[in-house]
C-alpha cells in the first residue's frame, strides 16, 4: 500500500515551477531548509514593486512528499502579497496535499522555507527602500 495521496503523486510526477531564481537579485528571496534526515527543500520567490509574489521556484531532495510540498507551495505563493503568504501554513499544506500524520513534519519544513524566503526578500526590500545614494552620485 502506498503511503502517498493522489495529490502528492500528482505533484511528484509533474512538479510545477521547478528551478531556480537568481538568489542575489534584490527582488528575490530564498528559503533553504534541511531536516535531520538530510531532506532538503529550497524555495525562492520574486516580488514586484508593490510586494506581490510574481514568480516562485523550488528544488527539493527528498521523498515524494518533500517534492510535492515544494511544487504545491510555488502555486500557493504566486499572486499573494508578502503579507498574505502568512495564510499558507502547515495545516493548509497537509489538507491540500492529503498528507498522513507521519508526513506532517515535511509540511512544517516547507513552511519554514516559505517564511525564510519571505523574510529575506522583505529584508532586501527594506534595505533598498530609502533609496539613499553614496556621496558624489
Amino acid at each position: 500500500m502506498t503511503p502517498y495521496s493522489v495529490e502528492v503523486l500528482d505533484h511528484f510526477r509533474a512538479p510545477r515551477n521547478a528551478g531556480r531564481l537568481p538568489a542575489d537579485a534584490e527582488d528575490v528571496g530564498t528559503g533553504d531548509v534541511t531536516d535531520a534526515a538530510g531532506k532538503r527543500l529550497r524555495l525562492q520567490l520574486r516580488t514586484d514593486a508593490r510586494g506581490r509574489v510574481t514568480d516562485a521556484r523550488f528544488k527539493a531532495f527528498g521523498c515524494p512528499v518533500t517534492i510535492a510540498c515544494g511544487s504545491w507551495a510555488t502555486l500557493a505563493l504566486i499572486g499573494r502579497t508578502l503579507q498574505e503568504t502568512r495564510q499558507v501554513d502547515a495545516a493548509r499544506i497537509a489538507r491540500e496535499l492529503g498528507l498522513r500524520v507521519e508526513q506532517l513534519p515535511l509540511a512544517d519544513a516547507a513552511v519554514g522555507a516559505i517564511r525564510a524566503a519571505v523574510a529575506e526578500v522583505s529584508r532586501k526590500r527594506r534595505r533598498s527602500a530609502p533609496q539613499t545614494y553614496p556621496n558624489g552620485l
Binding site: 502506498t2 538530510g38 531532506k39 528544488k59 527539493a60 531532495f61 527528498g62 521523498c63 515524494p64
Partner: protein, 399 residues
C-alpha cells in the same frame, strides 16, 4: 520483446517459489497429510520419510550430514536459536559475544536481548568495502567470548565475509562461529566442512522455496556444541526445536535445495552478467553513480548503487514498473539511511541516494534493458529538481 511489469528486482527480499517446488509439495497438504512424529501408522511413516528426504537434500546442498540439520521457521528463528541457544548454554564459560555492525536485524536483535541478560556484545566495524578487518576480530576476542556470529553475504550490499580466515582465528581460541547464510545458500558454493564455521542459518524463501521454513546446520563432533532450545515442547528436532514439522514445507525446501544444487553455477553466471549489463549502462549513461560495497567479493546477483543527488525513496516511487528496494525491506519503512550503508562510512546523503538491485533465476536481459532506460530517465528528471545535485554540479556550497 515484451516485458511483464513490474519487473522483479528484489530477489534479496524473497524469491518466487519454483513451480517444480510447488509440484513436489502438492501431495503433502491433503493426501499425505500425516504427522511426521506419528510412529503408529503408514501416514506418519510416509510423512517422516518425506521430511527425511528433504533434510537429506538440504544437507547435500551444503555438504553436511543430514543429522546436523534442524528445521526451523526461517533464518530469523535459526539465527535466534544459534545465538541465544549457544550463548545461554555456555554462560558458565563466559558472557561475551562478537558480531558485526552490518548484520541483519535477526542477528542484531538477539544480540541485544543477550545484553539485557548480562552478556557483553562487541559489534565489529567494517571497512569502506563492507568487509571485516581480521585484526579487529583478533583484538575483540577474549577468554569470555563464547560465540562469534558473522554473516556470510550481506542482504543489502551483497558483500561476502572471509569466513575461512575468521574460522581459523576462532578455532585457535576454540570459539564456535555461527554464520547467517540466508543470502548465500543456494547462490554461492557452500561446503560446511571447509567453510570455517560451526553453525549456519539458511532459509527456503531466498532460494526459490516456500516461505516459513528455514534450517540451522549444527556441526556434530568434537568439541561438542552445546545449545539450549528457545522453544520447549514435544522434543522434536533432537529436542532443539519442538513443534510439529510442516511436512509440505520440508519437502519444498528439499526440492528447492536440490534445484539450487543443479542450477547454482549457471544462475550465478547469468546473474553476474546481468549485473554487469545494468552497471555498464548506468555508469556510462549517468554521471555520479557509485557502487556500494566491495566490487569483487560480492554476490553475483546483487548491486547496491548510489545515484548522487536523488533520494532513494523518491526514485522508487518514480519507478512503479520496477519492484525494487532502497535497502533492506524493514529499513525502507523507517526511511532512514540503512545501518549497513552507514557502517561503510559513505556519508548520509550518499546513503540516502542508494537503491538495491537483486537479480534472479527469471531475470532477463530485456528486463534489465527496460530497467536501465527507466532508471536513466527518472534519475535525470529528479536530478533536475534536486538542490543537492545542483550544488554537486557547481562544486560549490550554498544556493
Amino acid at each position: 520483446m515484451s516485458v511483464r511489469v513490474p519487473i522483479y528486482l528484489d530477489h534479496q527480499a524473497t524469491t518466487p517459489c519454483d513451480p517444480r517446488v510447488v509440484e513436489a509439495m502438492r501431495p503433502f497438504w491433503s493426501e499425505e497429510f500425516g504427522n511426521a512424529a506419528s510412529k503408529t501408522h503408514a501416514l506418519g511413516w510416509k510423512a517422516e520419510q518425506a521430511v527425511e528426504d528433504g533434510r537429506g537434500r538440504l544437507a547435500e546442498l551444503i555438504g553436511a550430514d543430514p543429522r546436523e540439520i534442524i528445521f526451523t521457521s526461517g533464518a530469523t528463528e535459526s539465527n535466534n536459536l544459534a545465538i541465544l541457544g549457544l550463548a545461554r548454554a555456555n554462560r558458565d564459560r563466559g558472557r561475551h559475544v562478537v558480531s558485526l555492525e552490518t548484520e541483519h536485524r535477526s542477528v542484531l536483535d538477539p544480540c541485544r536481548a543477550l545484553e539485557r541478560e548480562g552478556f557483553r556484545v562487541t559489534l565489529l566495524p567494517v571497512g569502506n568495502n563492507g568487509i571485516l578487518d581480521l585484526d579487529r576480530l583478533r583484538d575483540a576476542l577474549d577468554d569470555e567470548t563464547v560465540l562469534i556470529s558473522i554473516l556470510h553475504a550481506n542482504n543489502e550490499i551483497g558483500v561476502i565475509q572471509p569466513l575461512a580466515e575468521i574460522g581459523e582465528i576462532a578455532r585457535a581460541r576454540r570459539i564456535p562461529v555461527h554464520t547467517d547464510a540466508a543470502q548465500s545458500a543456494g547462490k554461492l558454493e557452500i561446503d560446511v566442512r571447509t567453510l570455517g564455521v560451526d553453525l549456519l542459518s539458511f532459509t527456503a524463501h531466498k532460494l526459490y522455496g516456500p516461505k516459513g521454513i528455514g534450517a540451522l546446520w549444527l556441526r556434530r563432533g568434537s568439541p561438542r556444541l552445546r545449545l539450549e532450545p528457545i522453544l520447549h515442547g514435544g522434543g522434536h528436532e533432537r529436542g532443539l526445536r519442538s513443534g510439529t514439522l510442516p511436512v509440505p514445507l520440508c519437502v519444498g525446501f528439499g526440492r528447492a535445495c536440490e534445484l539450487a544444487g543443479e542450477l547454482r553455477t549457471e544462475d550465478a553466471r547469468r546473474e553476474a552478467q546481468l549485473a554487469e549489463r545494468l552497471w555498464k549502462r548506468l555508469s556510462t549513461e549517468l554521471e555520479a553513480v557509485e557502487l556500494n560495497g566491495d566490487a569483487v567479493h560480492r554476490l553475483p546477483g546483487n548491486l547496491n548503487i548510489s545515484f548522487l543527488g536523488v533520494e532513494g525513496e523518491a526514485l522508487l516511487i518514480a519507478l512503479p514498473k520496477l519492484a525494487l528496494s532502497a535497502g533492506s525491506a524493514c529499513t525502507s519503512a523507517s526511511r532512514e539511511p540503512s545501518h549497513v550503508l552507514r557502517a561503510l562510512g559513505i556519508g548520509e546523503t550518499r546513503a540516502l541516494c542508494s537503491l538495491r538491485f537483486g537479480f534472479g533465476r527469471s531475470t532477463s536481459e530485456a528486463e534489465i534493458d527496460l530497467a536501465a532506460d527507466l532508471l536513466i530517465e527518472q534519475v535525470t528528471r529528479l536530478r533536475a529538481l534536486s538542490p543537492v545535485w545542483e550544488r554537486a554540479k557547481r562544486g560549490g556550497d550554498g544556493p
